[in-house]
């Protein structure tokens, strides 16, 4: 107990590697869907589309205002008691849905802020030379908004990868679930959890490296 069991940790690595793809797939699917949803929500908020705007505010308020774990339990265990066909949804799908709804609420606000943050004079200049609204968005506003939004969106992606560790409460054995079960079999808690911590840490560091490269590219036009 007093000495770190390195052999056990090494033995755990190939086991955990088997569950890594599922963790990454759930996060990637969640992120892709959340991006789409968040863009839609952000546009509604920016344009203040009547009716939809109020619905969007309620959506964001609920999904930002309640814990992800509560939302997951609500979808997976709660709603099927009211609507039986929801039992068809498996744990993986429920996790992806939960991640999508939860994180899109946050992301919508940061995308909205990035769009609104593009100086108004840019819009005026674009319109003055005869650009259409579509051209204005595509050529002027969105490229600048992307540069502002990327760092925060990457932050949410990182958070989402770690949030997949809640999936075991829905019966999905992903990285964390596999570790918990292995730890229960060996009782080597420190070894098991430090190993899985390193897994998450390394993934996030790889992403951070990718983010730095992406930001450099997006900043090219601004370099002096």
């Amino acid at each position: 107990m007093s000495v770190l069991d390195l052999d056990y940790m090494l033995g755990l690595v190939p086991v955990l590697l088997r569950y890594l793809p599922l963790t990454l797939q759930m996060a990637a699917a969640g992120m892709a869907l959340a991006l789409v949803l968040a863009c839609g929500l952000a546009v509604i908020r920016v344009l203040r589309i009547p009716g939809l705007n109020a619905a969007t505010l309620l959506f964001i308020s609920f999904f930002r205002g309640t814990p992800l774990l509560v939302q997951l339990f609500l979808f997976y265990y709660g709603l099927p008691q009211l609507l039986a066909f929801l039992t068809q949804i498996n744990g993986i799908t429920a996790t992806i849905m939960g991640l999508t709804l939860h994180f899109s609420a946050y992301m919508a606000e940061s995308i909205r802020a990035a769009i609104v943050g593009v100086d108004r004079s840019q819009t005026e200049a674009a319109l003055s030379i005869g650009m259409t609204n579509g051209q204005l968005m595509r050529r002027i506003v969105l490229p600048q908004a992307t540069r502002v939004a990327v760092p925060t969106l990457m932050n949410y992606f990182i958070d989402m990868i770690k949030a997949t560790s809640l999936a075991f409460t829905l019966g999905v054995t992903e990285l964390m679930g596999a570790t918990q079960k292995e730890a229960a079999g060996s009782f080597l808690y420190f070894e098991a959890f430090i190993t899985v911590a390193l897994f998450y840490w390394i993934i996030v560091e790889l992403l951070a490296w990718f983010q730095r490269r992406l930001e450099t590219r997006l900043n090219e036009a601004y370099r002096r």
Binding site: L35, C39, L170, G177, F187
Partner: protein, 256 residues
């Protein structure tokens, strides 16, 4: 640029979602879906990615006897009854104790394990010798387990600081964060014997426990329950249940 990022993530997302949907879509003639925590040594646990334990062996024998496939679904203990309720599993094999509340709601098989509740302390802690000594102490139990209810029924329950855990109660007792934990006697002795943790049994077991498999209380599920019961009876009479028990515990826990 934005378009490319969105498209790439989208593509990755869709591909993986499609892959996941497919991976989950298997249809075998008849499968009994058994939920368990995978985190309750030696009943259900994982070593090198292999799910094993007493419950696994029993359920495999039951399924073979019934001539059906068995599928094990692992989830955190607190999620298991939700899965049963929402029809995602047929039963739970995780040393589920028959309690009044549960018996009112679920259709149980006949008991297949007889056991007692046991107080476990950190080695060298001799201030606790019986359940009366739990007064004024901090005691860990697993969230949603019946040991919590057992403790709360004690006349001096309000003098005990009961802490509920998702997992790792052995570890927190060994670390001294709580004074004791309560678990069934069989797995408690097993933990102490096999695992490198400074723990000791405190006193005698304090309540008889009968464990069985819960099913939803519907006509269809009661019919399934009856078939499982039949298989369990056959296994008990052929001595196979005892053999499985002795392999894991060196004693027969399947009869009173």
């Amino acid at each position: 640029m934005l378009k490319r990022i969105v498209l790439t993530t989208l593509a990755a997302g869709i591909v993986s979602a499609a892959g996941l949907a497919q991976a989950d879509d298997e249809t075998i003639d008849e499968t009994i879906k058994v939920g368990m925590s995978g985190g309750y040594f030696p009943f259900t646990f994982v070593e090198q990615d292999k799910l094993q334990g007493f419950e696994v062996d029993v359920m495999e024998a039951v399924a073979e006897e019934m001539g059906v496939e068995v599928e094990f679904i692992t989830a955190n203990f607190s999620g298991l009854f939700g899965m049963l309720e929402s029809g995602r599993i047929d039963t739970i094999a995780n040393q589920i104790t028959i309690t009044e509340e549960r018996a009112a709601k679920y259709a149980f098989t006949e008991p297949y394990v007889y056991d007692g509740a046991q107080v476990v302390v950190k080695e060298g802690n001799d201030t606790i010798q019986s359940i009366e000594d739990l007064k004024g102490k901090t005691v860990a139990v697993n969230l949603g387990s019946n040991y919590e209810a057992l403790l709360r029924e004690l006349p001096y329950a309000d003098e005990i600081d009961i802490r509920t855990y998702e997992s790792n109660i052995e570890q927190d007792t060994a670390l001294g964060r709580v004074d004791a934990f309560v678990m069934d006697r069989v797995s408690a002795s097993q933990v102490i014997k096999e695992k490198p943790m400074p723990l000791a049994l405190a006193g005698k077991p304090f309540s008889q426990i009968r464990n069985a498999l819960p099913f939803r209380d519907t006509d269809e599920d009661r019919a399934l329950r009856d078939r499982v019961d039949e298989a369990l009876t056959t296994l008990r009479e052929s001595g196979e249940l005892r053999t499985i028990s002795e392999a894991w515990f060196a004693t027969d826990i399947t009869s009173p």
